[in-house]
Subunit: 344 residues, 2 copies
């Protein structure tokens, strides 16, 4: 039975405990505010001034190799560094809570071609990205317990380089989101003796209202509690807690899902769809991670066209997230667009 959600209501995010206000009737309001000019220029395959293109020299003097698929290196302006100065010290304080933070920030080029984006790479090329994510995760996991692998795509997502790339920030403290997701998954497991996301997948398979893509090992849904208009949640259907555990078949089918999902995004408004995406792995300081399930979040900001985005501003910053179209409508739109890229 198709449920009706076409009235104002709130839904709870089961992973982090936050609520979202859903106001479907609000879709009709006129928009007189800012629009974002989408950059649809197709730059060259190689840009001599790009710090991510093969063979180019970066500001710190390092020269990129002539890489064929992917290339990972330390972020020259990383927010985290492996060591701190000797005088870096947080004195205990009766009111304020603070802690020094060390870590590593890396950049991963997804392709040597400056003018490509993820949906324009072949499944084989995307597989190399997945393998690089895995290798980087394994390498960093010897030193760090909380490893964030993510991509900011598009200028509107603060991406300062058009060259296709993602980032990794790794550290030993649990970030706010990982801590919240750990607590919620653990509480669910203790109560139900089953993983939250395992149960959630079954629920989506039963209801069939929010699934965008599903294959042997993966499912993509607009989560019940989505806050961004076309937000999706990509979940591994197998009992896998980190990206390092994926076997060949899981990696290969992941590459396919990533290609299809990003093509569908581009086809919604016939533009290179901006988003921030990232993986949530079980933190590695857990003795037992059985309550965790590997998943990725896609947070794309576009709402009504290539140039009109959802602004998470006043009410959203001060109260809670708000969305206009329902998750069910967004899933239908993503399902209904062609799975062939609009440029092909």
């Amino acid at each position: 039975m198709i449920k009706n959600y076409e009235f104002t209501h709130r839904r709870k995010n089961l992973l982090n405990g936050e609520w979202v206000l859903v106001s479907p009737h609000r879709n009709n309001r006129p928009w007189l505010g800012a629009t974002e000019a989408p950059t649809e220029t197709t730059p060259d395959r190689h840009d001599p001034s790009c710090p991510l293109c093969p063979n180019n020299t970066r500001a710190n003097g390092d020269t990129n190799p002539n890489y064929e698929y992917t290339h990972a290196f330390i972020n020259d302006f990383g927010a985290l560094t492996p060591t701190l100065n000797d005088d870096a010290r947080i004195d205990p304080d009766e009111l304020f809570e603070a802690q020094a933070a060390t870590g590593e920030a890396r950049v991963i080029c997804f392709s040597p071609e400056h003018n490509k984006t993820l949906p324009e790479l072949s499944v084989n090329e995307i597989s190399k990205v997945v393998t690089t994510w895995q290798q980087q995760f394994i390498d960093l996991s010897s030193r760090y317990s909380c490893i964030h692998i993510f991509e900011n795509k598009g200028e509107i997502m603060g991406c300062s380089q058009p060259h296709p790339h993602g980032q990794i920030w790794a550290h030993n403290h649990r970030s706010t989101e990982i801590q919240a997701e750990d607590e919620h998954q653990l509480a669910f497991y203790e109560e139900h003796k089953r993983g939250l996301l395992a149960v959630y997948i079954e629920k989506e398979q039963t209801e069939q209202q929010r699934i965008v893509i599903e294959n042997e090992h993966w499912i993509v849904v607009v989560p019940y509690w989505a806050k961004w208009p076309f937000e999706t949640l990509l979940i591994c259907k197998d009992t896998v807690q980190t990206i390092a555990q994926l076997d060949d078949s899981q990696s290969r089918t992941l590459a396919k899902v990533l290609k299809e999902l990003t093509i569908r995004y581009d086809n919604v408004f016939n533009c290179s769809f901006p988003y921030s995406m990232g993986w949530h792995n079980a933190p590695l300081d857990l003795k037992d991670a059985k309550h965790w399930r590997l998943h990725a979040h896609f947070y794309p900001p576009l709402l009504r066209s290539a140039s009109v985005k959802k602004h998470m501003v006043g009410y959203e910053m001060l109260a809670e997230s708000q969305r206009d179209l329902t998750a069910e409508t967004a899933a239908k739109i993503l399902r209904d667009v062609p799975s062939i890229h609009y440029k092909d």
Copy 2:
């Protein structure tokens, strides 16, 4: 003693429990990404097509009065409505949590003049805004327990109308942020038998590193846990829980603080400084609100110039907020700019 914070560290937001990653060394990274074109056109005093100007007719057929100071009306495209259709029903579900939501959304014009902003109004005119906020709060409090009064300023903050105005969204459920702040203030009160923000004000007065403005009844600080570059927290120094309780002297001095703070913002980059601001009142469903203190948050996005903002994207969405300059540096910048508006 001036504390040194010039190394990577995290700080905890005592009001909502979230952490922020502070990376002061990252200030030096180059910016090749998107810039926002600041709209510095000075439109006319009256715009015949503006739905907020006096005497104009709005899309729904209503005509605005010839108001002299402020004007409040129901948002024609509000996210909340007082009633729902009869078929609006959330069936109980073993997994998903949801609830129907009713409420009211209103718009408050701050001035009849289309081309003015808050810092350009006189203290007397701003006092009328404060009085309107109070009247609206009192009116809505007979029907709603959680009343969000806020302003989105500037196109980059999703403000769809340049005419100076704010909004109110009122409802009976506690929003995510109010719930979090309530829990944290209550836990603090139970442990210390004093209000969190009362103790916090004393701490800021002792340390003298983050205060921007202080007068008889109000203090403005860049909070220790600020996430936006020039975020500020405006706190009433008296034991006041809602805006309705302010007496004449508190309202009058509030108008002065609002003028000075918004002038200081504009003077940082010599532009009309965009922000979202809003009040946090004690929710009215509390039997006893003694742990609460009335305060307002200002969340401005600009980072390095009128056109370069902080992007809260990949890491920030998936892990936790991150800032470059420290709260202490931001407070010093806000203190050091002139208190006379750059246009005067």
